[in-house]
Symmetry: C2
Subunit: 349 residues, 2 copies
């Protein structure tokens, strides 16, 4: 399916709340999208299963039907969050990792943005983590053997030129669109000279690719070792999968709550919004999960599809609710419920 | 060589400043040790080479002589910091990673500690990262091949039962010695179910090892996925090598400067102190590097060898200098030089 927006009368959105608070925040994002009216094609939602509970019922954390419907019927999707089993369970495998691979959603784009005290001011934190989403240790090639001294386990970390190039190009595009235009390559090539060496060199060479003709000349390229990147602030960071996973959580700490950080999983022909937070078993069912990361994820998804006006309206409403500081969930030191925060957003859309 | 302190008349300490500010802070730590007088055996220092500059001169970042002298003549050592080449250089390999392996220094212990406003009060941050120091992606088994879509690189991540057990036991010992006695196992077994699964299960099983007889019954065992661990505070954390590398830098952010965080690389028969910070090319030669992490590393090293009194004197002097807040280097928003901070410490030893 093409990402071209021109011809769409309806927008088919797969909804995969999955586990835990995913089931509380994805319905909120759905309502926020519905509130956009004619700024987007008429949304049609398709409920889809995945997750730990689905596994316990069906023996499959990611039913084939979910993948088929996403691939053949949906224009885009929203994913909630997954619970992990507390012990190794035979046959269980993370559905979000599988989905990213199945749909080749090679870029995980995670903007971390604080809200300035007044509209129009510069926010204190404004960065983007661009995480490669298909390889690194996430290829899940693991084995265990018995050696002289007991069990020995091995995992393979894969970094390819192709995946590094396409995530690199996505990162250059995002950097180019920003005022500072700084792109920082995250790696650990002082230890992983071959794998991270390939990542770093491939990303560095993106601007010289055929047909780009100096397009990225204004982007300043920098580098940072992953360990020392974790307490610093950058403009746009591009990172192999696992580093990106860790760094985006670290960056989220800068804005006070994971409950604010959205992401999209983007490929060349599909996009799936996903809040960065997890399934939060400690607060599940209490009705106090923060819906803002999911609403922002819906905005990112719409923006990626070209629906700038609808995306802006969602983002501005979320910003306003945060700025007013009255209707916030407990993770932001407020006392409001998911529904109250959602209603506050709906009123401001 | 044995770690037993009883018979020692002299303490032979290898000094490996290596690159960058390592050459400014290791001499400071040396002077602090010398100031301890009869609280420790008479120190004898042996200067040893390693690092990027050594590589450019000799073609070897870790000369055999350095390893030989450490192994055969020294009781312990202090390591500074290494610069990394900005491109892949054939034949160069990180000397600190090699040293940890050569001397089987399997535990990297990194206490992150803030200083309370008044002596005797609880510090705001007080945690320990216990990092496995010999395996994970640091085994450096990497290769590159050419596939259909260009270059493909692979690295092997190794987790063994043996290494997980001994780092686990070290972590239980450290947790047991603390008031809260909480041990958090860091892993990512929702993705790496076999390698991180082995790490997690092996550490969990440490208390049931033969001969321990309920020794660790008072330790509370917890777990945290590495991504969500990065913005949280724990008592004692035990982690595979790379996660420990990243998490200890993240924890350092909590105390305001990497220039404060010490570590030891400890094995069953050798210990090497090492500040957690890097070679800091941006401030090298300016005389403003913070010597406190190195002095604290010397204290940790002495404490590990059983010289509690000497270690306490170093730590108390460092605490006092930080608490007074007058003589601090620029990383702590002060205006003093390395020498001035060292002198302030020496005066308070
Ligand atoms: C749930 C887990 C497999 C996932 C990941 O590691 O990618 C999550 O942490 C995320 O960041 O989306
Ligand atoms: C210099 C580098 C190889 C090293 C590591 O990754 O272990 C450093 O970051 C550390 O933490 O000691």
């Amino acid at each position: 399916r093409s990402l071209s927006t021109a011809a769409r009368k309806t927008l088919k959105i797969g909804l995969i709340p999955a586990d835990g608070i995913g089931r509380e925040v994805i319905p909120a994002a759905k309502q926020a999208i519905e509130a956009l009216g004619s700024d987007i094609p008429r949304p049609e939602f398709i409920d889809l299963l995945a997750g730990w509970e689905t596994f316990t019922k069906t023996g499959n954390a990611l039913p084939h039907e979910t993948v088929d419907v996403l691939r053949n019927e949906c224009d885009c999707a929203l994913f909630g969050s997954v619970s992990s089993p507390s012990k190794k369970v035979v046959g269980y495998s993370s559905p979000i990792v599988a989905l990213r691979k199945e749909l080749d959603l090679y870029a995980n784009v995670r903007p971390v943005l604080s809200v300035a005290p007044e509209a129009g001011q510069q926010p204190a934190v404004d960065l983007i983590v661009v995480r490669e989403n298909t390889e690194c240790l996430y290829v899940k090639q693991e084995e265990q053997t018995i050696g002289e001294n007991g069990k020995e386990a091995r995992a393979t970390r894969v970094i390819t030129e192709r995946a590094s190039r396409r995530i690199g190009q996505m990162a250059f595009e995002l950097a180019l669109a920003r005022p500072r235009k700084h792109l920082t390559i995250i790696h650990k090539s002082n230890v992983l000279s071959i794998t991270d060496g390939l990542f770093r060199e491939t990303v560095r060479k993106v601007p010289t690719l055929e047909g780009l003709n100096g397009k990225y000349d204004d982007v300043t390229i920098m580098e940072q070792l992953v360990d020392s990147a974790v307490y610093r602030v950058f403009d746009v960071m591009v990172a192999p999968n696992l580093y990106g996973d860790i760094l985006s959580d670290a960056a989220a700490a800068l804005v006070g709550s994971l409950g604010l950080v959205p992401s999209i999983n983007a490929g060349d022909s599909f996009v799936m919004g996903e809040p960065v937070h997890g399934s939060a078993p400690d607060i599940v069912g209490k009705g106090i999960a923060n819906p803002l990361a999911s609403i922002r994820s819906a905005a990112l998804m719409l923006r990626h599809l070209g629906y700038t006006k609808g995306a802006d309206r969602l983002d501005l409403a979320v910003d306003q609710v945060i700025r007013e500081g009255v209707t916030l969930t407990p993770d932001l030191k407020g006392t409001s419920s998911t529904t109250e925060v959602l209603n506050a957003v709906l009123k401001r859309i």
